[in-house]
Symmetry: C2
Subunit: 287 residues, 2 copies
């Protein structure tokens, strides 16, 4: 069992001359999902250890907490510390493509949504090391994105945290350096990634207030009860089913598929599909 030491931080880097290098730029992504994928490992926030998740509930659809994938760093600074998926920006790749590539390398799936969050570049982040500017993104994984098999590792770019690439080791599905954590029970994070996660969480909640993002956690078709459960999980309080129905339908973004969901011991619920619409410029995955 790997012991979880105090983060080594920048003090471990004996390269004070790095202070005079230009700032390094990296992309980091906070990804949210209602459930880790089937083959994923889950992390223990106390020990920092990760183990495979023997998924018990197969059809259970209890949307309760949010999960976030993290990557364990293998090099200083912050070696052995968990960090957000990300990495440096190659010269021929857009910011959003870097976020996508590094996220896919860690989760081995493409997210259902991706949007720029904020850029962090405080000075204290880099007391002794090279200055690091982090452009943070946030992403969502829906049921559909997590349902299929994981992508092969192949010649994929490394999921290494932030600015410190390392070769991805291990066979698909059991990389001990990638694990999912419950959003409210995270281990100590490298750099200022804890601050980034907190900011992403507040933005996610804010966004569900005036925008329609809850559906992205679900599959292509869903019942209004499922959509409401997701909304309640994010907002943190109960929502009146009757009013939620009317307001959701009045928005015009939900399309009745005509199909219904059977099997439950009550009246079958109608299945809806979300209507594709053009996103705001500089937002969404097509940024």
């Amino acid at each position: 069992m790997r012991s979880m030491t105090v983060p080594a931080g920048y003090a471990a880097v004996s390269a004070s001359e790095r202070r005079f290098l230009p700032p390094a730029v990296a992309v980091s992504t906070v990804a949210f999902a209602l459930q880790p994928p089937a083959e994923a490992r889950i992390g223990d926030p106390a020990t920092g250890e990760s183990r495979p998740w023997a998924q018990a509930a197969a059809a259970g659809d209890d949307a309760v907490t949010l999960w976030i994938p993290l990557v364990r760093r293998t090099r200083p600074p912050f070696a052995d510390c968990w960090a957000l998926p990300g990495g440096p920006i190659p010269w021929d790749e857009t910011l959003v493509d870097t976020a996508l590539r590094t996220l896919r390398a860690a989760v081995r799936r493409a997210p259902g949504y991706l949007e720029q969050l904020y850029s962090f570049g405080a000075v204290e982040r880099s007391a002794d090391a090279q200055r690091l500017v982090t452009i943070a993104y946030w992403a969502l994984y829906g049921e559909d994105e997590l349902a299929g098999a994981a992508e092969p590792v192949a010649a994929m770019a490394d999921p290494g945290a932030s600015d410190d690439p390392h070769p991805a080791a291990g066979d698909p599905g059991s990389d001990p350096n990638v694990a999912w954590f419950s959003a409210d029970r995270l281990p100590p994070l490298a750099f200022d990634h804890a601050e980034i996660v907190a900011y992403a969480l507040s933005r996610l909640r804010l966004k569900t207030e005036y925008s329609a993002v809850a559906h992205r956690f679900l599959g292509e078709t869903f019942t209004l009860a499922q959509l409401r459960a997701v909304t309640e999980a994010i907002r943190g309080h109960a929502v009146d089913p009757a009013n939620f129905r009317r307001q959701s339908l009045a928005q015009g973004y939900l399309i009745d598929t005509g199909e219904t969901q059977t099997g439950a011991r009550h009246r079958p619920a109608r299945l809806y599909r979300f209507r594709l619409r053009t996103e705001h410029p500089n937002e969404g995955i097509a940024s």
Copy 2:
């Protein structure tokens, strides 16, 4: 008269090996004001020429359009092109401090508000040159900020656009390389700064919908008519005075100073002061 040539762009840079350097990071700021400062130069969007602004209306308070300060680049790429105030990030300076310093170097005043906007890093920005990532800020100058005398140039950092510093020349108040332009009549801009300005404008309008930023264009005390005029200028449509009064006062952010504004040929208007409140984290000038 300096002729306005087609932007030289990156083609003028014969350094294709720059492609393999790490991305450069710069901060650029879109600053808004209702009026250029008294000693400022105004720019002609057609010729690119700037000339001192003999301010005619002294007490005129007609809030009609928004003004933006720009800096003329003196070096390639985009030499002779106008660009947003900004510059590279020193290793010991936070992002917001870099934005503040470069903005003060150009406007020679501190803004009344400053907030991060978005980070731009598309690949096509840097076809032949070094990759450039721009972290954009937007700022507001109120009456008070622009009222006093300009700060001395001193040992101030250079206002040079984006990633290409150059020594600031000229005496205070007549630097021909800094000029204010009307926000809807801008000259061709360097890099993708036109896109950044457009995004900043849309965010400014959006922000006045659900937030209180209009007051930052004004001095410490103001009448409701002034605040309404600013709101109308930003929103682009008329607002009912009676309803605006009630809604503004109901917010609880306005404090009646007890004083009134005399001199106009109608009933004197009460003067209000804006109530200081804690801003959202990662927003505002104290980011």
